[in-house]
Amino acid sequence: MQYLLMIYQNEVEYAKIDAATSQKILAEYQSFTQDIIQNGNFKAGDRLQPTTTATTVRVRDGKTLTTDGPFAETREQLGGYYLIEAKDLNAAIEIAARIPSARIGSIEVRPIWVYEK
């Protein structure tokens, strides 16, 4: 099965982290990503620019409306994702728990919708 692991954490808090710690976390991310690539779980994954760069788009009555900022103001923000292949939810949870940000923020695990052909 495929799962999207969405990484949520508080951007403002994260921005306050000192350079050395930030380097360490980055290194942890690299080794985690390498690990799930080698185990065949990795499908895709990216880090996102902060929500200050976000634009939200809606089309109403044929008109495109854009607003500055994310869709919803929340305490933790979507900061990145992995798309993984895993045997089942237990395996997906186990992988999610190894994402470095799981220790600071939260990882939402969502199965990918499969259309019956």
Binding site: Y3, K87, D88, L89, N90, A92, V109, P111, E116
Partner: protein, 409 residues
Amino acid sequence: MTPGEIDKIFRDEAGRALATLIRLVGDFDLAEDALQDAFAVALERWACEVPDNPRAWFVNVAKHKAIDRIRRQAVFRGKQQALVHELELNALGPDEPTATLDDDMLRLIFTCCHPAFAPEVQVALTLRTVCGLSTMQVARAFLVGEEAMAQRLVRAKQKIRLAGIPYEVPEREMLAPRLDGVLAVIYLVFTEGYVATEGADLMRPDLASEAIRLGRLLNRLMPDRAGIKGLLALMLLHDARRAGRQTPAGDIVLLEEQDRSLWHRAQIDEGLRLVEHALRVPGRPQPYAVQAAIAALHARAPSFEETDWPQIAGLYEVLLRINPSPVIELNHAAALSMVDGPARALDLVDAIAARGGLRGYELLPAVRADLLRRLGRTEEAREAYRAATVATQLEPLRRLYARRMREMG
């Protein structure tokens, strides 16, 4: 055989038959529907002749019903074809090893108690599928409407399928934490049966019985686990006092007033034996086993006054070390009041209240009220009883507090 007798066999076997069927057909809903089909067939055929092994009969007939159902579905394609083929090959013989069937039951229990479900969903799924309660009965257990409960169960089963919650017993390092989750579900069912959260009745014995049944089942499937034995002992010992805990009119009889000859002796003996086993299992002491040891001291005491209060207070201190919680602190304070007197206990309770860890816990004002009453601080006691009355949704508790206030004059 009468329909009533067939229904009884079905109720006894349904949980286990379902557990195996889910493994075979890989889908909760399909397994449940097929099992109901098989039950309908049993009602027709068993009037004349009952099979030797009803469970294997249910599984095999239901399996064929499942195949029929899959074939009837509009979209019958590759994946389902393969499933039907596999199902036709794997007939469940009467000689199926018991270990496989036991594993199926454990798979079902661990799946229903998966931490990806909210606790109340875990309880609902367990009562519905493992215990075989009807949706109506589960709804009543939660004091919600049948429609709302049916929705909740549908969503839960959908999540099993769509999120890929595996039908398996967790392995190695995952087993211990997941087992704790299962025990928590069983204990939740039991406590709701022991002292209901709200309503007209103090107890809901059907829920307590279901929890004990689950505890027995788990203890048989996974022997030598201190946590399971401890929980089962705890439930048996608490439940053994059932007949003494209320008047025929449904009023609460406090532990100090209970006629101990009404307690269920055989059940107490069983509980006591289990506590000893639980405490002998190597490893660090399990919270349920320690709680059961406390219940055992109450069960053994010839009277309220002759209870071994110092040892009970000591066991609560052990609990506070291995599993600290404000509720345990409150119980510890209540036990200590019987050793060091109510004044010192009141200091502890006020300290807990000042920290605010028990906000909303309805029994805190009740414990305070009792201590104040024993200290002769009538006005403060009255105020605390009023707070306790507001805090509870349970009618018998409200009547108990009213009685205490009347007694104080």
